[in-house]
Structures are given as structure tokens and as C-alpha cells.
Amino acid sequence: MRLRDELEGIYAILLKDLKAYYLKPPNISWGILFPIVLALAFTLRNPRGLRDLAPGLVAMAALFGTTSMEAIVVTFEKRVGALERLYMAPLTYTSILLAKVLGGAVFGGFISAVMTLLCVTLLGMRISHPLLYVGGLALSLIALSSLGALIAFSVREVFEAQTLSNYFRFPMIFLCGVFIPVGSLPLPLRVVAYMLPLTYTVELLRASTLSLSTCPLLDLAILILFSAVFLLLTHRAMGRAYG
């Protein structure tokens, strides 16, 4: 009974967030335009060799898709007192947190799906292991969305969340193998790269599209670990607000 109540609460919050925020026309159009512009920019600059870059582009779409809107949604709700409406309800903090993370993951999944479609049609990306691709992307979306939640629940204002997100997002683009293979980075940067979740997203997507000989199970396990740590830290941040 209790579990069913919690699941119903998670589902209700997820549906509400999708309806009230994520699926608004401006966000849908951003979700479609952002991957198109990104894919076109790379295609026009360097039409050859983009198949290698495609998994990185999908990873980037997942990163921005999950963290951007989620940070706005959580901090906005905090500001107008709407988040407190959720705290008033007979739901655990865990359920509220999971609902918020799922919202970010679903929106990130939508943008990643558009990017995948573009990479397959425009850049010739081939998904050799669809199950690994979908599973790896789904886990990545949860991990990245959990990171977004950690940032959003730790700050007060929308601009603070955006600034803090960028401290993580931009280094990740350059260090996690999106453009430059992690193996070719100097050792100190390689160490930093392996401490960032996007590195494992890129590795998983590469493994499932380019059939590279990396161990996907380790990547999957590390993403689960990242998700758990981010969720735990966010839960603590929510608890601090309870005082």
C-alpha cells in the first residue's frame, strides 16, 4: 500500500512537471532545434569523419537536455513556494526526488532521441547494439539528471543553478571524450575525465555504435554508482532544508 502510494505520487509529479513545464511549446521547439543546430554545425564544418563524433553529440544532447530544464523547474518551484506544496503531501523526500529526476531524464531522453535520429540520418551513425545503446543512454540520463537535481536543490536562484551547472557541463564537453578521445589526454586531465559521468556515457554510446572493445558492464556499473551518489547527496540537501 505504502509503495503503491509512493509510486502514484512519483507518477503524479512526473506528469504534472511534463505538462506544466517540460512539454510547453518553447521547450519542445528548443528540444528539436538544439540537436538540429548542433548536428548541422558539425556537418557544415567537417562533413567527413562525423560518424566518430556522433556518440559524443548524443551524449552532449543528453547532458544539456537533462540538466538545463530540470534546474529551472526545481529552482523556480522553490522560489514560488510550489516545491513546498510537494513537501506538504504524504510522500517521502525520496519519491519527490525521484519524480524530479525522472522529469529531467524524460526531457533529456526526448532531446537525445532527436539527436540520435539526426545522427543516424545525417551522419550515418549505426547502432550495432541497440539494447546497450538504449540501456546505456537511459542510465546516463538518470545519472546526469541526478547531477542536475543535486545542483538545483543545493542553490536558491535559477541563475545560480545555471552558473553552477556550467561549471560541470563545459569541462565535461572537453574532457569526457566528446571531441577529444580520453586516452589522448594528459594523465592529470585523464584522471579528472574518469571522475565525470559523461565519460562513461560517451564510452557506452561508442561501444554500442562503433563496436569498440571496451567493457560496457563497468561503464554501466559506474553510472549506477554516480546516480546513487548524486541522489544521496541531493536527498541530504533536501533534508537540510527541513532543518
Binding site: 503524479a12 510547453k24 510522500l91 532543518g243
Partner: protein, 315 residues
């Protein structure tokens, strides 16, 4: 039977003691007012009782459940109207209530019937498809009150329910609170409107700087405070010195041709006034006797002016 039991509840924010060892009980079906100025600790108390803030010390039971150990059980049995109308701007009134009903696990079969009943009770049926952000302040408060009742709670917490409303909307909302009392709900109401507490509450606690100064029925508070009746007299001219001399020892305010006298024996004062006014050749133009109000008791008990409270709230 007590719906709320509070024992030594205390909340510190750093070094600041927002609520200082407050203790009280609220009976089932009672409308309990929590009256005090801005920053007195009213909202902090409500936040602790509704599981939104963890107390630093003390214990409390709401609907028989411990607010710290059994927070979810407490939340299942209460409805909360916070100071700000925090439903979702982008959802319609119906969608908001449907969402809240899911959060409170209202059975699917009952959900639509209950939402319909509440919308009709609060005269919001015609606005059910209007987005929340398009409602007036008064209608927003009604929608928030409807949302607080979606789980048919035993106890309702109303935090400054009429703040910021125009006179008509505030009166209408007070009428609704009266109907909820008739429905047998226990109501915990914080307000800085003294007349609101006087009008709605069975008992009132006066809280100042985190401490409860007095708890009793409005009538007993007036008696306890030793507040006197006030006689307001308008004369045909300024009061002569002989009249003021006769009133020496009483609390007298003179404003031109009007005098206001505080007395615990209005009959004797009236006799004296008529006699002295007649002797000085003046005429009594008007005479009003006003019984003590809760506002008078509040001033006496706290030393605070109600005007100060209203100014603090920006009203």
C-alpha cells in the same frame, strides 16, 4: 479529545529562537487562533506541526501522531493553506485539484466526485478550466483552500488565510471557514487580524517573540486583560475644566469636542457625565458605549499596537 498536543516546542535558526518552548492543546472540532505580530513565530509553529520544519526541541502530536516520528501519517490527516497561494500557475483549477488528489492518494473512484463537490462549495465550478495564474487573489485563496480539503482532512492549518485579500474576498473566506467549522473540522488558524481571531476562533493563543503570552477564549482574554468599557461622548463645545477634574483618576482622551473615557462602571460614569454637562450649560450631541474588544486585550497583554502589526504586514 485533543486533535493537537504541543509540549515545549522550540525552534532555533542559528542563534535566533523563533519559537520558544510553546505548549498548548487544540480540541477536536475547535477553531484555534494563533495571533501575533510578524516574526512572532506563527508560521514556524505551523511549519513544525505540518512536518515542513524539524523542531529543535519539544514534542507534538497531530491527530494522535508524532510530528517527528510519524510525519507521513500526520500529513495524511491534515490540510494546509500556506500564506502564499502556491498551486501551479500553468495548470487549470481542475488539473491542480486532480494533481493534489493524486498526491494525497484519493481513490480514483472518488477523485472526480470530490473535486466537483469542492469546486461547487467554493463557487469555483465555473472557473474549473481557468489556469490558476489567471484567477484573482481571492479566487486563488479559495482554490488553495479547496486543495487543502481534497483528502477530507481531520485538521486544517490556515496560515494567514485572508492576508492580501480585499474586504469582500476576506469576508467571503471567513464565511467559508465558518462553514468548515460547522462541518466539524478542527482548524488551526494563524492571523494578525485581531478582529478575525475574535470573530472566528473558539480559543486564541497570543504569541509574541516566540513565546505564548496568553491562551483562552476571546471573552476570557478580554476579562483577564482587565480591559474596560469605553464611553465616547461628543459635546456641543470643548469639555470644561470642571468636567475633566471630575474625571480625574480615569483614563480620558480628549479630541476637540469629543472625549473618550475608559471605565469599568459605565453606568456611574454616565450619571456623572449627564450631571456635569448639564451643570456647565453644554449639550450632549452623541453618546456611545463600546464594550472591550479582543484588540484592547491584545494591546494590554502584549503592549503592541495592532496598527504596528498591520504596517509590518504591509497592509
Amino acid at each position: 479529545m485533543h486533535s493537537i498536543v504541543v509540549e515545549g516546542l522550540t525552534k532555533y535558526y542559528g542563534d535566533l529562537c523563533a519559537v520558544d518552548h510553546v505548549s498548548f492543546t487544540v480540541d477536536a472540532g475547535e477553531v484555534f487562533g494563533y495571533l501575533g505580530p510578524n516574526g512572532a513565530g506563527k508560521t514556524t509553529t505551523i511549519r513544525m506541526l505540518t512536518g515542513l520544519t524539524r523542531p529543535s526541541k519539544g514534542r507534538a502530536w497531530v491527530a494522535g501522531y508524532d510530528i517527528i516520528e510519524e510525519t507521513l501519517e500526520v500529513k495524511r490527516r491534515i490540510g494546509v493553506v500556506p500564506e502564499i497561494s502556491n498551486l501551479y500557475d500553468e495548470l487549470t483549477v481542475w488539473e491542480n485539484l486532480e494533481f493534489i488528489s493524486r498526491l494525497y492518494h484519493v481513490p480514483r473512484a472518488e477523485r472526480h466526485r470530490r473535486i466537483g463537490e469542492l469546486l461547487k462549495l467554493f463557487n469555483l465550478w465555473d472557473r474549473r478550466d481557468t489556469r490558476f495564474r489567471r484567477l484573482s487573489r481571492g479566487l486563488k485563496r479559495r482554490a488553495v483552500l479547496a486543495a487543502a480539503l481534497i483528502n477530507d482532512p481531520e485538521i486544517l492549518f490556515l496560515d494567514e488565510p485572508t492576508t492580501g485579500l480585499d474586504v469582500v474576498s476576506a469576508r467571503s473566506l471567513r464565511g467559508l471557514v465558518g462553514r468548515l467549522r460547522e462541518m466539524g473540522k478542527t482548524i488551526f488558524l494563524t492571523t494578525h487580524y485581531i478582529e478575525e481571531a475574535d470573530q472566528l476562533c473558539d480559543r486564541v493563543a497570543i504569541i509574541v517573540r516566540g513565546r505564548i503570552r496568553a491562551i483562552d477564549t476571546p471573552e476570557n482574554l478580554k476579562l483577564k486583560a482587565g480591559v474596560k468599557s469605553i464611553l465616547e461622548v461628543e459635546l456641543s463645545d470643548r469639555p470644561p475644566a470642571s468636567l475633566l477634574e471630575r474625571l480625574r483618576g480615569l483614563e480620558v482622551e480628549v479630541d476637540g469636542r469629543e472625549i473618550r473615557v475608559h471605565t469599568d462602571d459605565p453606568q456611574e460614569l454616565l450619571r456623572l457625565l449627564v450631571e456635569e454637562v448639564g451643570r456647565s450649560g453644554l449639550r450632549l450631541l452623541s453618546l456611545r458605549s463600546r464594550p472591550p474588544t479582543l484588540e484592547d486585550a491584545f494591546i494590554d497583554l502584549t503592549g503592541l499596537s495592532p496598527e504596528v502589526m498591520r504596517r509590518e504586514k504591509g497592509i
